[in-house]
């Protein structure tokens, strides 16, 4: 079978440009001012809630949440609420015209709880009123007769860590017959034999917290009933096409009767994925029931209890190595807590197992992973998607192994990392650029690793310094999780300006600027010629979800294909108009178009475009790219899970106060191999922003549940994210460009990778600062809050 044309085009462009230094491109890899920057500094972009003003006579929808984290619903009485001033309607599960479900991967999550509630944020009824205040007040008058059930807030109440057997308990999902959502494994080589032959074995248990996205824009959705019975929804969502699917399901309407538009987004990080479905469906239900525009607006408290989080992990890892520092085997049991509903849990579990041995050559591995329900807030997608959890454990283990072997942690890692030509633990051959070694070397150089590592080891006194390293790799795009394609459309207007459309959203990171840079580079026009249309299911092509670090790699390829096809046609026409020897000789440097050897004789871009209309040459193009099929063998955990990986090395330099346990990151260095820098500003933002978010994960963030499943940390005074005073003095960001034949100009993704290795690098640095073998083993949990670190110091006999 021959290759599809879009694969050929991407490969051809890579081959042509792989040796061209990024600095020689015009827009690629440059600091381009993003298209919305000027409107943003003027405070102009309209986020969903800002649009409420534009609609007169809207109704407001308030979600009545559960009183218990786990209970049967016997009866819902809302007669009192209906009498409250301004209340127009109360909607319960019985009023749903379609299917009462907003589950992402599995149909396990009712939009409105009917039979039972499974966490404290479950919605039992919607109050629709003339004002949000009245709707909220009336919510207090909904009387639900509950039969409380036992509440599980720790996965180990549901499953045994050793052997991952499910414990006897009252089922949260009785309809499924088990609270183990999914299981994954890796079986490679002979683990038992490797452990017998090992000189060093290191074993430890790890725990990671339930991190909250804490995007600053709380959720909002506005639904407008249309005259033909369809509905238009503006909602905070990073995946408008998925939101449309969910809303269609709930309303029982075909896709073409539901239109979802994503306005400006105030952050997403994966958290605007499934909650978008829920809020949009709630608004749409009310809008169609009342034939009036309906608004859903979350407070920060509702946002925190209402949207999914990062999966907490409990894991036991055993690593074996030989005397010379060769990694021999990995043996692990891992449990991820998906909370009350699956959301993206099955996919997160899969990504976690794929990455569960880190970016190392591992020939013997036994890994078992279970994703388990509890009565906590559901966990879903969050930047990193299962990888930060396992990478924390693996990278801590690497430091412990190095210590046992008496080696420098870098030396030990360099002995075992994946390089070009190696196979991953899944047996996947890495036959293209693997820039991990270069990334490590550059990170060491920039951070001054060697001198600092030596110097800090000699420090005594209450304020200690430590420097730590962690490595990561991260599969690009969604791999074997689903249909992995992307699309864009480029429409050149008669005046030469260009409309750029894609169903991918920009959550704030500026990824769409990268796509425009690609189109601009190929067409030979400045980025300012482009207008980016907002993602809208009625106007932009379905580009797949905006997740999994796929915008630049997948959307970039689709853009490259579209721009390439238009450029071919323009070259042919321009060659005719100018009399160039070959279409290849046409140079477009808009507004000038000329033959390579005759720059003084030129026509203008506008003239060229005008001519396409007279000659009947289409200058609209739909770019499509489908990732190479992924392959995964369930029984062994082998195959080709992702088409490529982003690699990275992170060095953190910390100061630990031995008396209080308080850790401050002083300086950080991150170096990522992203194949090719396409959007330099955006890439730097990921480097810095991913570090700061990862630092929060490492040092302060956890969504704390009480034993009965109530959430304690529902505000920014109880859920702490890093402020301007917490950040390091300097975060050095650099890139390795090892190239990838199937990326646009060789580019790979960076959104998620940027958070993966931050936490272990910081905790490794804390361990170095403390300098005690015993403490090193006890530092097995994040967030490493001052009280936790102080506890470690006490147990290690270093503090009173």
């Amino acid at each position: 079978m021959s290759k599809p044309d879009y694969v050929q085009i991407v490969e051809e462009m890579f081959a042509k440009t792989k040796d061209k230094p990024t600095k020689d491109f015009t827009y690629l890899g440059k600091h381009v001012v993003r298209w919305d920057a000027i409107s943003k500094i003027m405070g102009k972009p309209l986020f969903t809630a800002d649009m409420i003003n534009l609609f007169k006579n809207a109704v407001f929808v308030h979600s009545v949440r559960s009183k218990y984290a786990h209970a049967k619903i016997k009866k819902i009485d809302y007669s009192e609420a209906l009498k409250y001033p301004g209340v127009l309607k109360v909607i319960t599960a019985r009023d749903i015209p379609g299917i009462n479900d907003v589950g992402y991967v599995l149909p396990d999550q009712p939009l409105l709880a009917d039979r039972k509630v499974r966490f404290i944020g479950d919605t039992v009824a919607l109050i629709v009123a003339e004002s949000l205040e009245n709707a909220r007040d009336a919510g207090e008058l909904v009387n639900v007769d509950y039969e409380p059930l036992p509440v599980y807030t720790d996965v180990l109440q549901v499953i045994e860590l050793n052997g991952l057997t499910e414990k006897e308990h009252v089922l949260i999902h009785d309809e499924r017959g088990s609270d183990v959502l999914s299981r994954y494994k890796i079986r490679v080589g002979d683990v038992e034999k490797a452990f017998k032959e090992a000189s060093v074995v290191v074993e430890n248990e790890y725990r990671t917290p339930m991190q909250e996205h804490a995007y600053l824009e709380p959720e909002a959705a506005i639904a407008i009933p249309e005259p033909d019975g369809s509905v238009t929804i503006y909602a905070k969502t990073q995946c408008p096409f998925d939101t449309r699917r969910a809303v269609s399901n709930v309303l029982g309407l075909p896709f073409n009767m539901v239109r979802v538009v994503a306005p400006a987004l105030g952050g997403g990080f994966g958290g605007a994925e499934d909650v978008g479905n829920e809020i949009a469906a709630k608004a749409a239900l009310a809008a169609l029931a009342l034939k009036r525009t309906a608004v859903v607006l979350h407070t920060r408290e509702e946002s925190i209890i209402g949207h999914t989080k990062r999966h907490p992990m409990v894991a036991k890892y055993r690593h074996a190595a030989s005397k010379d520092g060769t990694l021999l085997a990995v043996d692990a049991d891992i449990v991820l807590d998906t909370g009350a509903y699956a959301s993206l849990g099955p996919f997160v579990g899969w990504r976690a197992v794929v990455h569960s041995t880190g970016p190392y050559k591992v020939r013997n591995a036994r890994v078992d992973l279970a994703v388990v329900y509890t009565n906590r807030i559901p966990a879903g997608a969050f930047r990193g998607f299962g990888n930060p959890q396992v990478t924390f454990a693996v990278e801590r283990q690497m430091d412990l192994l190095a210590e046992e072997l008496g080696m420098d942690p870098v030396e030990f890692r360099l002995k075992n990392i994946l390089r070009n030509g190696d196979r991953t633990v899944h047996g996947q051959l890495l036959d293209h650029g693997v820039g991990l070694e270069d990334a490590i070397k550059r990170a060491l150089e920039i951070s001054g690793w060697s001198e600092k590592r030596k110097l800090y080891s000699t420090l005594k006194g209450p304020a200690r310094r430590g420097i730590g390293i962690a490595l990561m790799y991260h599969g690009n795009s969604i791999g074997a999780e689903g249909a992995d394609f992307s699309t864009v459309s480029l429409i050149i207007q008669r005046d030469g300006s260009i409309i750029f459309r894609t169903g991918l959203t920009d959550m704030g990171q500026g990824s769409l600027q990268g796509l425009v840079n690609i189109a601009a580079e190929i067409l030979g026009v400045p980025p300012s010629y482009f207008k980016i249309e907002p993602s809208d299911t009625a106007a932009t092509p379905d580009a797949g979800p905006t997740v999994a670090s796929r915008s630049t790699a997948m959307g970039g390829n689709a853009t490259l294909v579209a721009a390439y096809k238009i450029r071919q046609r323009l070259n042919k026409l321009a060659a005719e108009m100018l009399g160039c020897a070959s279409p290849e000789d046409v140079v477009i440097e808009a507004p000038k178009v000329y033959c390579k050897d005759q720059p003084e004789h030129h026509i203008t871009w506008k003239e060229l475009i005008e001519q396409t209309f007279w000659k009947g040459i289409p200058i609209q193009e739909f770019g499509y790219y489908r990732a190479p099929p992924a392959e995964w063998h369930e029984e062994t955990g082998t195959g080709q899970p992702y088409f490529t990986y982003t690699f990275g090395a992170v060095v953190s330099d910390v100061e630990v106060d031995i008396e209080t346990g308080l850790t401050k990151v002083v300086e950080a260095t991150v170096v990522y191999d992203i194949g090719r820098v396409v959007n330099r500003t955006g890439a730097e933002h990921h480097g810095v922003g991913g570090y700061i978010q990862g630092m929060g994960y490492a040092l302060m963030e956890d969504t704390v549940h009480s034993e009965n499943g109530h959430v304690y940390s529902t505000s920014f005074s109880t859920y702490h994210i890093p402020t301007g005073l917490d950040i390091p003095e300097r975060i050095n960001v650099d890139f390795v460009e090892a190239g990838f034949i199937r990326g646009p100009f060789g580019a790979k993704g960076l959104g998620e990778p940027s958070i993966v290795a931050i936490a272990p690098s910081i905790v490794n640095a804390i361990a170095h600062a403390i300098g005690s073998k015993q403490a090193n083993r006890l530092l097995n949990r994040i967030p490493a809050t001052p009280d936790f670190v102080r506890g470690v110091l006490k147990r290690a006999g270093l503090a009173r």
Binding site: W35, Y215, R300, G508
Partner: protein, 177 residues
């Protein structure tokens, strides 16, 4: 119960009849349509709703409008006259920190308050003042740099710039190295 008050917002006088419990953030956003003012938490923790009231930074989510009779309020919409951009805005553009943009108005109003009281702020002062606004995208370093650049521009007398010229100069152009 409602109160009739006089309020000067971005230089324009308004006579408003507001209920006793109406918050300034709602008055500005929903009554006057000044949507640069964002609400991120509603409890004075995130700083995205900060505006200047009589020249001082205030969380508009914690301020009752009825208490502001005769006060002057400044939001990002009023930072520069129509058709102009303020040096602070140019500095935020040039240091390239803007990501999702939800916290940016709060940061810029805080920067304005800082520079009005400390025309040549030390790094520690910049950090202290601006740490009252949260940014989850992680643009803090860029915003600190912007505050210092803005101070430099203001000192040089470059306070208001022509919006059209700035657009022509920077709209999707390559800047920096």
């Amino acid at each position: 119960m409602s109160f009739k008050i006089n309020l000067k917002v971005n230089g324009k006088e308004h006579v408003l009849e507001v209920p006793a419990h109406e918050r300034l953030v709602d008055t500005l956003r929903y009554r006057l349509g000044l949507t640069s003012v964002k609400e991120g938490c509603g409890r004075g923790e995130c700083g995205t709703c900060i505006v200047l009231v009589n020249g001082l930074p205030k969380h508009s989510c914690l301020t009752l409008t009825a208490t502001l009779d005769g006060a002057e309020v400044l939001t990002l919409e009023g930072l520069a006259p129509e058709g102009k951009l303020h040096a602070i805005q140019l500095a935020y553009l040039e240091t390239r920190g803007v990501q999702c943009g939800f916290c940016t108005p709060g940061f810029m109003m805080m920067t304005k308050a800082l520079l009005d009281t400390h025309p040549e702020p030390q790094q520690e002062q910049v950090k202290e003042w601006l740490s009252s606004v949260l940014c989850r995208c992680g643009s803090y370093h860029y915003y600190f740099a912007a505050a210092k650049l803005a101070a430099k521009y203001i000192k040089e007398g470059k306070i208001y710039l022509d919006e059209k010229q700035v657009r022509e100069k920077y709209h999707m152009k390559v800047i920096g190295r």
